[in-house]
């Protein structure tokens, strides 16, 4: 299992770059419409939302369908969401407004869809920064997990950003909202579902439950421990 995940990973990584590749190809062939900056903005925005939803789909898929290997891709998808968000924001900052900060500030303050989008982007920054194994170890599993719940807020902000910016046809943003609601709903169900286990078993079950919920984080913590020379070594 581990070996096959390792073999597949580079291909998944390459597949995640296809949207960017297609944009570059269109730019190269002059096929970015009459308004290329708007085109790039919309495409990178679309893919930010898609990767956010894909990253947030990993855990529900793993739990509903019992795909433990899916967890190995969660960080990659999350970072690609940030990657496309960064492209999206850079397009806005550089290509669209060319650092006209007075106009940008006005935009962020006055237009609620820009406010929501900007907030979502800002929320993704700490998540990207703390995505390394070293940062997971430094923060510790519990704190890291709490911090990374911001991903839900960022995704909601992203969908609201889309919802508020469309002029008349809100069906596409509503489709994203529906998927997001489903993904968050699955999480809530797993969290609050009635459990057959007795109340006494609950506290003992707690640790393995978390362990099974976040294998990547736990793997990172384990790896850190085994490498660290100290009281935790060998545990």
């Amino acid at each position: 299992m581990d070996m096959s995940v390792r073999r597949v990973k580079p291909w998944v990584f390459a597949a995640c770059l296809i949207p960017l590749g297609m944009l570059l190809w269109r730019a190269f062939t002059g096929d970015l419409s009459a308004n290329p900056i708007e085109f790039i903005t919309h495409r990178t925005g679309d893919w930010t939302l898609r990767f956010l939803l894909i990253a947030l789909a990993v855990t529900p898929l793993r739990r509903v369908f019992g795909w433990p290997w899916a967890a190995a891709f969660r960080r990659m998808f999350g970072l690609f969401a940030f990657f496309y968000a960064l492209l999206h924001f850079s397009t806005y900052l550089v290509l669209d407004f060319f650092f006209a900060f007075d106009l940008i500030l006005d935009d962020i303050v006055e237009r609620r869809y820009v406010t929501a989008g900007f907030a979502g982007f800002v929320l993704l920054v700490p998540l990207a920064v703390t995505s390394t194994n070293a940062m997971i170890r430094r923060l510790g599993g519990g704190r890291w997990r709490r911090l990374h719940r911001l991903a839900y807020v960022a995704a909601i902000a992203g969908v609201v950003h889309y919802l508020w910016l469309v002029k008349i046809d809100i069906r596409p943003p509503l489709a994203y909202a529906a998927v997001l609601a489903l993904l968050l709903g699955v999480r809530l169900w797993f969290r609050f579902r009635p459990r057959p286990a007795a109340a006494g078993a609950e506290s003992r079950a707690a640790r393995p439950r978390i362990a099974s919920r976040e294998p990547v984080v736990n793997a990172a913590l384990r790896r850190g421990r085994s490498k660290a020379a100290g009281p935790l070594a060998g545990s």
Binding site: A34, N35, E38, L103, R111, Y113, K167, I168, D169
Partner: protein, 319 residues
């Protein structure tokens, strides 16, 4: 409001014969364009739209009201359109508008006027009017802009022919409603048919034109063929396309975007960098084809000509 009567000699009688014949030629070729469209109707994509044989309109008069800014390319003007009757994507009008039949075409003219209400065939409607080129800035409410070399004639000249009465305080326009040929109308993105309106003094302003062509050729369907309004000091959505009805009315008409989202789109919709829109910064705009944003000008740069229409009006409330 008092409307000046048209002079006794109709403009058709004083038009030089050569220009007059050229217009006949134009009308004939416009019909030919339709035949070409049917031939090209089996094609797909924007190419199919462009295949519509655009016949030249000869001997256009230049207008002192034209801007000397460089016009956008024919490709830009004909592939990047908002025409929700054919879909919400900017490319949809170029992809699907060839499905609309524009021949035969007539315009219903009715309302508060001395002349009897009538369904006027397009040819009859256009006949008296010499065509001229008007190169105008077009500012979309979505904060992009273009420069378009329209071919048309002053709306006011047409209005005078029908002798609106003093009760005619507004002019109301309607776009063709034909869901079988306009796929966007099969959905409920807006209340169809599309409606727009102008106050009578706005409609009579020499800058307001009815356009029948662009770049010296007949309009493509995605641009609102065969007859559309162009009001360059207002946001683009005021310039209603593919007009089938012109009414002289007493009360201010509800325009489609105002009906859809009243707190965002008003009746006047004058280009105004100081009045914000919740979605788009109106302070600046992107001129299609250029990299840097430019500051949006009051009344889209037509302040000197049109500001007088709005003396004493609070443009923040009358957005």
């Amino acid at each position: 409001m008092l409307i000046r009567q048209a002079p006794d000699i109709r403009s058709s009688e004083i038009t030089p014969e050569r220009l007059y014949r050229n217009r006949r030629e134009f009308i004939r070729t416009a019909s030919g364009a339709v035949a070409g469209a049917i031939a090209a109707g089996t094609g797909f994509g924007p190419e199919a739209g462009r295949l519509r044989a655009q016949k030249p309109i000869p001997d256009l008069r230049k207008s002192p009201l034209s801007t000397d800014e460089p016009p956008n390319s024919f490709d830009d003007i004909t592939t990047y359109n908002n025409f929700y009757e054919f879909g919400l994507d900017k490319g949809d009008p170029a992809r699907y508008s060839h499905e609309m039949t524009i021949d035969p075409w007539s315009v219903r003219v009715e309302g508060e006027m001395n002349k009897p209400a009538a369904d006027v065939p397009l040819e009859t409607l256009l006949r008296p009017h010499p065509l001229e080129e008007r190169i105008y800035r077009l500012r979309c409410v979505e904060a992009w802009s273009m420069v378009v070399p329209w071919v048309g004639f002053p709306l006011g000249d047409l209005i005078k022919r029908f002798e609106p009465t003093s009760r005619a305080r507004y002019v109301r326009f309607e776009t063709l409603y034909r869901p079988s040929e306009m796929r966007g109308q099969r959905g409920r993105s807006l209340d169809w048919p599309y409606v727009e309106g102008l106050r009578m003094d706005e409609a009579m302003h020499p800058l307001a034109i009815l356009a029948v062509g662009v770049y010296g050729k007949t309009l493509l369907n995605q641009q609102g063929a065969p007859l559309r309004l162009v009001v360059p000091w207002k946001y683009g959505f005021k310039s209603i396309k593919s007009i089938v009805k012109i009414q002289f009315v007493e009360d201010q008409p509800r325009n489609s975007w105002n009906v859809a989202i009243p707190n965002e789109y008003g009746f006047y919709s004058n280009v105004n960098p100081e009045v914000n829109h919740p979605r788009w910064s109106q302070a600046s705009e992107r001129r299609i084809g250029s990299f840097f944003r430019m500051r949006t000008q009051m009344f889209n740069g037509y302040r000197d000509q049109v500001a007088g229409l709005y003396d004493g009006m609070d443009l923040r409330r009358n957005y």
